[in-house]
């Protein structure tokens, strides 16, 4: 099963393969399940009453892909529209993004489209974007059709999956799909130790830039 990432985390000390690090950001309307997806992916847990995220949270997870070890540095952002001004700080310099919506709420799908547009405009042009229709376990209350989202994803060149953080459905798969799609060239390898911190924030052109975005 895909959710046994524990083994992937420690690849038996074999380091002959490449190690790649990617910065990934989660975006989407609040309460669609961004934090839950990350928590499921990173810790294999699910909390019914997952607290709201203020500002952002940072987590990491490593997965193995053939002979490559992929380390995700995940920024889980706040969903409320008001925190929008902080978002560029997190998605700037990100190699991947998961835009999440809630399949039981049409508005959140609309919001997801806005995020995709913003990423296409403002983020790195090579960014890999995945669209996640979360809360698949509530499919009987579905308001966003699978086909509708799939069509939209195809038109915009996005990866697309319906996920459920609660049942773990497609959670690891969507991260895995992103990992496959990411370029594993020299640029992303071998940045261990202290360098990673610097690299991570280099993309951030400073708080002033972030502040301007909200105007």
């Amino acid at each position: 099963m895909a959710n046994r990432t524990g083994t992937a985390q420690r690849p038996n000390g074999q380091t002959q393969g490449k190690i790649c690090q990617f910065k990934l950001v989660l975006l989407g309307e609040s309460a669609v399940g961004k934090s839950s997806l990350v928590l499921r992916f990173v810790k294999g847990q699910f909390h019914e009453y997952q607290e709201s995220t203020i500002g952002a949270a940072f987590l990491t997870q490593t997965i193995c892909l053939d002979d490559t070890t992929v380390k995700f540095e995940i920024w889980d952002t706040a969903g409320q529209e008001r925190y929008h001004s902080l978002a560029p700080m997190y998605y700037r310099g990100a190699q991947a993004a998961i835009v999440v919506y809630d399949i039981t709420n049409q508005d959140t799908f609309g919001r997801a489209k806005t995020w995709v547009k913003e990423l296409q405009r403002q983020a790195s042009p090579t960014i890999v974007i995945a669209l996640a229709g979360n809360k698949q376990d509530l499919a009987n209350k579905r308001m966003v059709e699978y086909e509708e989202a799939q069509t939209y994803a195809d038109e915009n060149g996005l990866l697309f999956m319906e996920t459920s953080a609660k049942t773990a459905m497609n959670v690891n798969d969507i991260f895995l799909a992103i990992a496959k799609k990411l370029p594993k060239n020299e640029q992303n390898t071998g940045q261990a130790g202290n360098a990673q911190g610097r690299r991570l924030t280099e993309g951030d052109t400073g708080p002033r830039a972030a502040g301007n975005c909200c105007k």
Partner: protein, 808 residues
Amino acid sequence: MTVDMPVSLLKNPELKFGAITFFAKQHKGDTCGSNGLPLTPNSIIIVGNAQLLKTIKSPFLCDFLDIIRGKHERTIVVSQYCGTPLAKIIDKHVLTHLQIKKIAYQALKGLSVLHKLDIVHRNLSNENILRQENGDIKLFNYGLYHMTNRGALVSFPVLEVLYTAPEVYLSGFDSGHVDKKVDIWSLGQRIRKILSLLQVNTSIFEKIAREHNCYEVYLNLPADLKELIELCLNIYPSKRLSCEELLDKLYFNEFRDIQEQKKMWEPFEVFSIQELYYWWQLAGGDVFQELKKQGLIRSSPPILSLPSLVLIEGTLLGQDRNPATLYDPRIVEMPLETLYQRFIHIPITAFYPLIHSKSDIISSSDPPPYDATGLPLVIKEKDPEYQFHRVILFRRLLHGYPFTKDLIRQEAEKDIPPLLRGDVWSALLNVPQGYERDYMRLDKYSHTTTDRQIEVDIPRCHQYNELLSSTQGHKKLKRILKAWVYKNSQYVYWQGLDSLTAPFLYLNFNDEAKAFACLSNFIPRYLHKFFLKDNTVVIEEYLAKFSQLISFHDPQLANHLHDINFDPKLFAIPWILTLFSHVFPLYKILHLWDKLLLCDASFPLHIGLSILTQLRDRLLTSGFNECILLFSDLPEVDIEKCVIASMQTYQSTPRSITSREHENEQFYKKNDLDIRGVTLEELKKESCPRISAADIINTVRKNPDKILLIDIRNTTLFHRSCVKGSVNIPFSSVSFNETVLDNLGTHSSLIKSKGDKVVAIIGDCETDLERFPNFLLQCNVSRVCVLHGDFNRFTSVIPTILTSGTTN
């Protein structure tokens, strides 16, 4: 026998309590609500509903004390329980007609209190009417129907079969028949029962009397009593009279006058049964254990509750119905002996602590106060005797609010008794009289664009807490948030406001208006402008001050965080925006805010600093990723240590170090010698904080040995005039190539041996006020700050702190 005196205050026959227990209905399997969240357990809904009962005060009702949840939806209700049930009395004695009338009157008084709150007793029986030694009665177990959503949350019917009104049977038990008049029927039946008679022709009463071969007794009844019962037993609820109507009857006049003279004020209670119950618990009282001891709670091996078959979607089959899920009307009285023993040595004077004007003679005759100083806070909060003294004292002080405001603050500095925390907090927050009216006026219901956000946030806000996760809790929180947004149109709802409100609601669960008033006074004091639609500058200024405060107290840590690019913006936004209420569980927030409320808006910065200090070793040895991971999953923080450390830095830091442009000037008055007009751009460039001329003047005058003034102007200017005690290190003389203190020449030893002195750098427009302090910071010199403005600030100060610099 003086020792008996105080205990007799506790040994009041009415100050006794008992408990009943039942099971709430269990949800079947893993069911989810329409929002995908699991359904709230019925026992939690009951806990939320039951809180209202705590507010009910009537001499004819037993005080409701507590509701406790056990495993598997077990629910325990603790309430005052004193006197003898009527059922027992009428077995042995015949009551006079006058006594019966009085009982009827008092029961109606009790019921009318309930009915005004839309609470239906539904359970009125002679078991639930307790006669006190003085002949008065108290109604017991009146809350069951209300707390169980009219019986819907339990699997047994809430009624007394014999006494229940006909319409209840007609409409079925589950239809949630609301009419309060069912209680009136029960009352009528009950009085009839007391008379043990029965029959008739036209009236129900007569009929019942005949059926029971008691027609004789019926005929001999005084007319008024007969009328009363007949009024009560009208089979049409619409024609049956209400409590108020019945109470108006002339034949109750004789009881009315004695008890209803309008009192000028409520008599002062030295302590209440709620407090007794609290001390009893602290002294080891455990309701759960008592119920176990008396056999009301029996645990069976878990294996016996296994079902025979579980279907894949979670349906359970072949599970024996536990007979314990049926209603067991037994009441267990709680033994108070341990508490009496524990408090036996407390002198009577302790019940009446003197607050004002203690003369020496009186105070020397007082026994020494119970000493708990130096004990950890958690121990003090669990010490029954200490809490006894604190509660008695605070209750008295709160009684005198607002005139005792200063005394309350003074005592709160020691600690705040958890039982009275809600009231103490609102006193510390200056909640004004008449706060209820203000709240009542606000629109809490109209639909707004913020509703969706509030609705998705509430079910995630401190849901481990029973009160906040209950249905009532959700409704109340929503109303408070909507009212706040409505009232503060200049502000908007930011996620986090829910967490910020949670502690106030938790403490004032039965006084929504007070929770709202606390929040309304709290935000201007501590989070001024934070909830503006665009709060970027406010937050950025705050974060910049936070970085500077770290540099000020812990340069080594500040340098490390700077080196790894670890900006407070990445982790401290939830800290400051919610004042840690989104970061810590409630019990920690309470202790943290106990101190916050005694300090000003700069205190949260010190709390933040103390958290970093606790994690210091790990931070210093970690790179960026490890650091940020640490904060995304914050390890256990010792809150008492955190509070002590933040108090220390708060008290030892000149106030202007944390001065902000966006501070609320209502609470922090600034004058010309304070810091003003610093732009965000300037602030962000400065690694070391500024200090105001006012703070330097103060320190030089009062504690000159607490400050090291370094004047970096050129020697000529310095010799012409300088601040007393300052040293001159001309800016131009320093080589900044290496970060070695020795480069400063002869004065370097002064800095090295400065201890915890503040190092204030004084310059003028000719000097670079960034490189020098940065240099000191890089050399890990602590408490470095820069005079806001320049040297000339001091020239006009009278009396002067200047001297000619020749002495140096």
